[in-house]
């Protein structure tokens, strides 16, 4: 990679950010400022990715091979795991959006005190370990968990409901873990929303619902999309929660990658599985960018 090019390229960063006449010598070299980030990503991300790609396509005797790719294509079990993974991730994303948007809206429109409380309610579980949160669900939803004990004792059901160790358990656990990633971007956009715009719609005779659908919702769409992208990408790589709360129909590709890499020491095939997952996620992202625009996908800022 040609370092000089990177140094020269992003002049606009400092031009737009700094007032004229305030340039110190080091600031005149913006390349230095991003050099750290480039080296960091290059050494810790790009290089390992290249090595990983090498493993996936190098044969045992050194030459180039499609053997791992062919193996992946011919193994139905891995396809099933890919489908399970994407299905789980999409449902998680949709449920997060359905629950997250109203919550974010409430946070943006309520009093500052209530907002602080809501924020604490969202953030405190967010700082708890994923493992602890998943185990807490076993205590709540298990066969002899609090909810089932209560349901059976009150006579509402005759036998404990199967809430865990199936897809329902996985979805509950994953939505809980990933909800903050949906709420925060939406909330950030809604907070910046010019409140005079829905007010203007109302003064022109729109019902609250109409004002919401035609003014607030379109303006907050970038936040919603950003939340969806975040939740989807994290959900695709999720591993602990499906393993702890899921059943035999919830085995995700991350689980299989772990088995291939750690137990079978088959690193070339593990690399191929990882690359395929990345390519598929990248494909989804590219598809989204094509239709929605990459800036909207990556930016959580509302544009008015």
């Amino acid at each position: 990679m040609d370092g000089a090019e990177i140094v020269r390229q992003p002049r606009w960063i400092w031009r737009s950010a700094l007032p004229d006449g305030d340039r110190k010598p080091w600031r005149a070299r913006p390349g230095l400022m991003i050099l750290g980030a480039v080296l960091f990503l290059g050494a810790l991300y790009l290089l390992p990715m290249l090595i990983l790609t090498g493993w996936a396509f190098r044969g045992p005797n050194g030459g180039f091979t499609f053997a791992q790719a062919r193996r992946l294509l011919s193994e139905g079990a891995y396809h099933t795991a890919f489908i399970t993974t994407f299905r789980t991730a999409i449902i998680t994303m949709l449920v997060c959006a359905l629950i997250g948007y109203p919550l974010a809206y409430l946070m943006a429109t309520t009093s500052p005190r209530a907002r602080t409380l809501l924020m604490a309610g969202i953030m405190i579980p967010f700082w708890t370990s994923v493992l602890a949160r998943s185990l807490a669900w076993i205590i709540l939803l298990g066969k002899r968990g609090i909810l089932n004990e209560w349901l059976v004792a009150s006579g509402l059901v005759s036998a404990p409901l199967p809430l865990l160790f199936n897809s329902l358990g996985v979805q509950i656990g994953m939505v809980h873990v990933l909800l903050p990633f949906m709420i925060l971007p939406i909330w950030a956009v809604l907070m910046r929303l010019d409140q005079s715009l829905p007010a203007a719609a109302r003064s022109l005779g729109a019902s609250p619902m109409r004002a919401f659908i035609h003014v607030v919702l379109p303006l907050s769409l970038p936040g919603l999309l950003a939340g969806c992208v975040l939740v989807f990408m994290l959900a695709v790589g999720f591993y602990i929660t499906p393993a702890l709360l899921g059943g035999d129909r919830d085995i995700t590709i991350a689980s299989l990658i772990e088995m291939v890499v750690r137990d079978l020491l088959d690193w070339p095939f593990g690399a191929m599985l990882s690359l395929s997952l990345m390519a598929l996620v990248g494909g989804v992202f590219a598809f989204g960018a094509l239709f929605i625009g990459a800036e909207r996908l990556t930016s959580a800022e509302g544009r008015t």
Binding site: A77, T80, I138, D248, M259, R262, L264, L265
Partner: protein, 366 residues
């Protein structure tokens, strides 16, 4: 990383040790004088007990320092070997991991001539593997919740575990976490006697697994999880490590172990290829395979001592729940390392092929 270390050592050797380098000089000296070995084990109460009854007395007796690290996963050993920075000398690990590592040329064969024959004779021959010496015995046993199944009315054989009509309740079996499918117990449940299990009739075993599948309410990913689910009553009977059940029982959990039909397997001492202090390593092995040391360990962590001499140092009550007590030993069979390690026509060992088949079997809808 390794480059930096070499240059640091060169600086020290060159006598240019400034005050900055003094702390490094100190540790280097300690290494040179008496040596140090690194034992990779599984942490927790196991490593604490090892420190108490093995590492500390060994350090006192020989002056060789023992450092612990871990967990001794095959992938970590491979990463150390690939980077040329091997930091572990001795591993405490199971046979599947040893077979995988040996196949990847990561281990040294054990030179049994360097071990004390008197101590070695007390350890069953089946545990003298080329790349590992069995020291701590665990097993896959029937572990059950005593509230669901009071002892005496509990599943007393694998056939009982497979019998969902007579013994109602959720089963839990291992999947993931480096645990191979328990095909032997599937065969025993299907009527194969414990001394006729090997060579495994693989297809028959998988047909038995098919019948088990609807009875299993949770495929657990690690043994701690299994015991947790069992203690809480989320599942009623597990195929999991018996000694872990005994640990839970001692802590007051409603859990007990049925040893009938159990598959015995050793955790082993194994030597990392490229370890630097081989002489100290053999001194360590000779120290820790002693029956009395093993008995002391079993008093703290109720796994089975591999040396029969250990039971000369344990009372009857201490020995009763141990998986290798003379009574319990006769009800069980030894995991056949040779069969699992055998390489098939596709270049895969049985353990690799069956572990992969397990994942596919699990993912594919039946």
């Amino acid at each position: 990383m390794s480059k930096q270390l070499i240059s640091r050592r060169k600086v020290l050797r060159g006598g240019a040790a400034s005050s900055l380098a003094a702390p490094f000089l100190h540790t280097n000296k300690a290494r040179a004088d008496k040596g140090e070995i690194v034992v990779a084990s599984w942490g927790g109460s196991r490593t604490s007990a090892m420190r108490e009854v093995m590492f500390k007395p060994f350090e006192a007796a020989t002056g060789i320092r023992v450092r612990d690290d871990g967990p001794p996963e095959a992938a970590k050993v491979k990463a150390q070997a690939d980077s040329g920075n091997i930091t572990w000398d001795v591993l405490d690990t199971d046979i599947p991991a040893i077979l995988t590592m040996a196949k990847n040329n990561l281990l040294l064969p054990i030179d049994y001539a360097k071990l004390d024959p008197g101590k070695l004779d007390k350890i069953p021959k089946v545990l003298h593997h080329e790349y590992g010496l069995g020291h701590l015995i665990y097993g896959f046993n029937i572990v059950y919740n005593t509230k669901t199944f009071p002892t005496g009315r509990h599943p007393q054989s694998w056939a009982d575990v497979w019998n969902g009509d007579k013994y109602k309740g959720g089963r839990s079996f291992p999947f993931r976490g480096g645990i191979s499918p328990q095909l032997e117990v599937a065969l025993i449940a299907d009527g194969v006697p414990i001394d006729k299990v090997y060579p495994l009739d693989i297809e028959r075993a998988w047909r038995a697994m098919d019948r088990l599948r609807p009875l299993v309410s949770k495929w657990y990913a690690n043994h701690a999880e299994a015991i947790q689910l069992l203690s809480k009553g989320e599942v009623d009977v597990c195929c999991t490590v018996g000694p872990r059940g005994i640990v839970a029982k001692r802590e007051g959990a409603p859990v007990d172990v049925e040893y009938a039909g159990g598959k015995l397997a050793p955790d082993n001492w194994a030597l990392v290829r490229g370890g630097k202090n081989l002489d100290a390593v053999y001194q360590f092995l000779n120290f820790v395979i002693d029956g009395k040391v093993q008995a002391e360990f079993a008093k703290r962590v109720p796994y089975g001592p591999s040396s029969s001499d250990a039971f000369n140092h344990l009372t009857e009550i201490e020995a009763k729940d141990l998986i290798t007590s003379p009574d319990n030993l006769t009800k069980q069979f030894w995991n056949d390392i040779a069969w699992w390690g055998a390489v098939g026509p596709d270049g895969k060992t049985n353990i690799e092929a069956q572990t992969e088949r397990y994942a596919k079997w699990m993912v594919q809808r039946s």
